[in-house]
């Protein structure tokens, strides 16, 4: 004898069991590559080549990591990557905010046309500007220096665009009120505008930071000596098409992934906060 209530609770339990099974499967799919990178970084290549057995973390050693650091000056390149990422992100965000602010609030003439020009620059594939950028950097005698890696990217049309869209939804009355109370441009931006557009601020920062950290071809193009290169370019030299030492490659990949992972774990709270702030507005 089953009561209807009992049946519905069984059904609910079934449903949640299925949901959890699905979530577990999703977690495995997402986490497996990370597991493989970190497990592989600590397992000798001879074991990794065994196939499935190589996935068991039973032969852990730091050997791969040590060999990777012998081939390339990883510490130095880590530092370079950090400098490049911080400079590129900070400048891109600052310039993005300033430009979008001017476009939206300053009531200048021709801002629409200016904005269209900005937008159209997003349609130009990066490959076509590669050589031109190289020639510019080269004529400034900056080839093989760290600033050459981030200088062409300190302003980004995409960041300006995203900030502009966010600023447009800011109520004009609030701004007028702030100005009446004697707030200047900077005070208004800092105390009123940015707190309101925090979701955009956070997502633009994260997008430009990951792009800066992951950059490969441009940094490769403008640097020559290992000491001026970023870690992404450095680890490229670890792998080769025909004779690959998988353990060493994974050790390099693990060292590049780790900082991003830490940043994401730390920023998770803010990320979630940012999303709800946007939802409740």
């Amino acid at each position: 004898m089953r009561s209807p209530r009992r049946r519905s609770s069984t059904r609910a339990r079934m449903r949640s069991a299925l949901l959890y099974a699905w979530l577990v499967a999703a977690v495995i799919v997402v986490c497996f590559p990370l597991y493989y990178i970190f497990e592989g970084a600590l397992t000798p290549t001879a074991w990794l080549d065994q196939g499935l057995e190589g996935l068991l973390p039973v032969h852990l050693t730091l050997d791969n990591v040590i060999r990777a650091t012998q081939v390339i000056p990883l510490g130095r390149q880590f530092g370079n990557s950090l400098v490049v990422t911080i400079c590129q992100t900070v400048l891109q965000v600052a310039i993005g905010i300033a430009a979008a602010y001017a476009l939206v609030f300053c009531r200048l003439r021709g801002t629409r046309a200016l904005f269209l020009v900005l937008l159209s620059s997003m349609m130009i594939p990066a490959e076509t500007t590669l050589i031109a950028n190289y020639l510019t950097i080269s004529s400034w005698h900056l080839i093989d220096t760290v600033p050459a890696v981030f200088l062409p990217f300190v302003a980004s049309a995409l960041s300006i665009f995203l900030f502009r869209q966010a600023f447009l939804s800011f109520p004009g009355e609030l701004r007028d009120a702030a100005l009446l109370d004697g707030a200047g441009h900077f005070r208004f931006i800092r105390s009123m505008l940015l707190p309101v557009v925090r979701p955009t601020l956070i997502s633009v920062t994260l997008v430009s930071a990951t792009a800066a950290w992951n950059g490969f071809f441009w940094p490769l193009l403008v640097t020559n000596s290992p000491d001026n290169r970023t870690v992404q370019v450095g680890i490229a030299q670890l792998s080769s098409a025909e004779a690959t030492d998988i353990g060493v490659v994974l050790a390099g990949a693990a060292m590049v992934t780790l900082p991003v992972l830490i940043v994401v774990l730390l920023a998770q709270r803010f990320l979630a906060g940012g999303i709800t702030a946007g939802a409740l507005k």
Binding site: A46, Y134, L220, N224, S240, A243
Partner: protein, 449 residues
């Protein structure tokens, strides 16, 4: 249609790169440092990664120690060959080309067309100690300059060979020590291995048309017309539909479509590890894969690349890379020092060491007489590779095709061949590829002028 358009654009871009190169005189940023008779610093861009990069760095340090106070070579890794080519193009325009550049086999046409390097023969003509016979004949003919002599210094040489997994082959009741010699026999063995062991019978590189080029050469057929680009005229098209080519493509079509052969797609390292872990009976790939394919050096048997006809021109095209000396904007002292560095890298001892560390074949025939060379050749598999290289005739077919449009047309041909292994008709599909490739080559030739 859109693919065709896109690949045409790609070919034209290749040509435009050349145009960009020739339209601009490099201003010689390094020239000032070398006008004096003091020490010369050479920049050297290479594309070696992994264990080969470590070995190259140690060879360079040895040279620097040997030439202390006179020449210092500053070697740096510049990414894949395609990356190096882009970077070189940018460097030509800004006048910051390296003194010595490493470039891969199939970019030889591009480098010659760019006219930014000094042919090696300019230096070897004046050097009485240079021995033109120190190269295997096919190596000299691959890098031959139009004006005679060599265009660049061959450095790393490789050839494809046939690897047999001893245990799988034996399980199938076959004798690995009397290996198949033709593609037809390889296909036959592959069926037997697959039927009796359940493992794949064979595999080969499928990421570009390289294997098809090699099998054309091993039947004495030119891959490009006219004359593989080795005569006085530029290449204008491909030849993919001679009876020999159609026959071997049908044989491959059968083993790929019935599941006997493993198609590794673009993942060459997956192919090598499948062979190393006993999942494939036979593998046709570069000599360079030896250490990864068979770390113990006893589990496999290396045999000559299978032939597709008994033509006397039949041979195996070499791969690898060569070293180019920059001309424009580089002083005579720098170029001379660069030549000295190249002669060092060509010396018998260095070539023996480079070959034993990387799996490339020595491009200096005297390397076999050095202690390191003798040690390497005591492995019968390495000896088989060296024999194949030494015995390759210097025929036009075996010299291989030379065109600056090569990187583009390779993608076209393998695209067509992938349709073939899925079951498309060989002759009509490859005819289509011929006409598509002819358009791409024409676009490159127009742009390159």
């Amino acid at each position: 249609m859109s693919f065709r358009k896109r690949s045409l654009i790609a070919a034209a871009t290749g040509g435009a790169l050349i145009l960009a190169l020739s339209g601009c005189a490099a201003s010689g940023s390094d020239a000032d440092s070398a006008t004096a008779s003091g020490p010369v610093t050479l920049t050297f861009w290479h594309a070696m990664s992994g264990p080969a990069a470590t070995e190259l760095d140690s060879l360079v340090s040895k040279f620097n120690a040997q030439e202390a106070g006179k020449i210092t070579v500053d070697a740096s890794f510049q990414g894949t060959y395609a990356d190096v080519q882009t970077k070189y193009t940018a460097a030509v325009q800004s006048g910051t080309t390296p003194d010595v550049l490493m470039m891969n086999d199939i970019s030889t046409g591009f480098m010659v067309d760019s006219k930014k390097t000094t042919p090696l023969s300019t230096f070897t003509d004046k050097d009485s100690s240079f021995d033109a016979d120190s190269f295997p004949p096919i190596v000299s003919s691959y890098y031959a300059a139009a004006s005679g002599g060599l265009a660049a210094m061959p450095f790393s040489v490789s050839q494809p060979v046939l690897y047999l997994n001893r245990s799988l082959v034996t399980q199938a009741g076959l004798d690995p020590d009397s290996p198949p010699t033709t593609v037809a026999e390889v296909a036959d063995w592959a069926e037997k291995i697959h039927a009796s062991t359940g493992a794949y019978g064979m595999t080969m590189n499928m990421s570009d048309s390289w294997m098809l080029e090699e099998m054309s050469a091993s039947g004495g057929e030119n891959f490009c017309t006219p004359e593989n680009g080795r005569g006085s005229d530029k290449v204008t098209g491909l030849d993919l539909t001679s009876p020999t080519q159609v026959t071997f493509m049908r044989q491959l079509q059968k083993v790929f479509s019935d599941g006997t052969a493993l198609n590794p797609g673009t993942d060459n390292s997956a192919m090598t590890s499948a062979f190393a872990s006993d999942k494939v009976g036979m593998m046709i790939t570069s000599t360079g894969a030896y250490t990864t394919a068979d770390p113990s050096k006893t589990a496999s048997k290396v045999a000559a690349f299978p032939k597709t006809s008994d033509s006397k021109d039949a041979g195996v095209v070499i791969g690898g890379n060569a070293l180019w000396i920059s001309g424009d904007g580089h002083s005579e002292a720098q170029q001379k020092a660069a030549y000295e560095f190249l002669t060092y890298l060509h010396s018998a001892d260095v070539q023996a060491e480079w070959a034993s560390a990387t799996g490339y074949l020595a491009s200096n025939t005297s390397a076999a007489d050095t202690a390191v060379g003798k040690q390497s050749l005591s492995d019968p598999n390495v000896a088989a590779m060296a024999d194949q290289l030494a015995n390759t005739p210097a025929s036009q077919a075996a010299a291989g095709c030379r065109t600056g449009a090569f990187p583009t047309v390779r993608a076209t041909v393998i695209g067509a061949f992938n349709q073939v292994v899925e079951g498309a008709d060989v002759t009509s599909t490859m005819k289509d590829a011929e006409s598509k490739a002819a358009d791409q080559i024409a676009a490159y030739n127009t742009a390159a002028g």
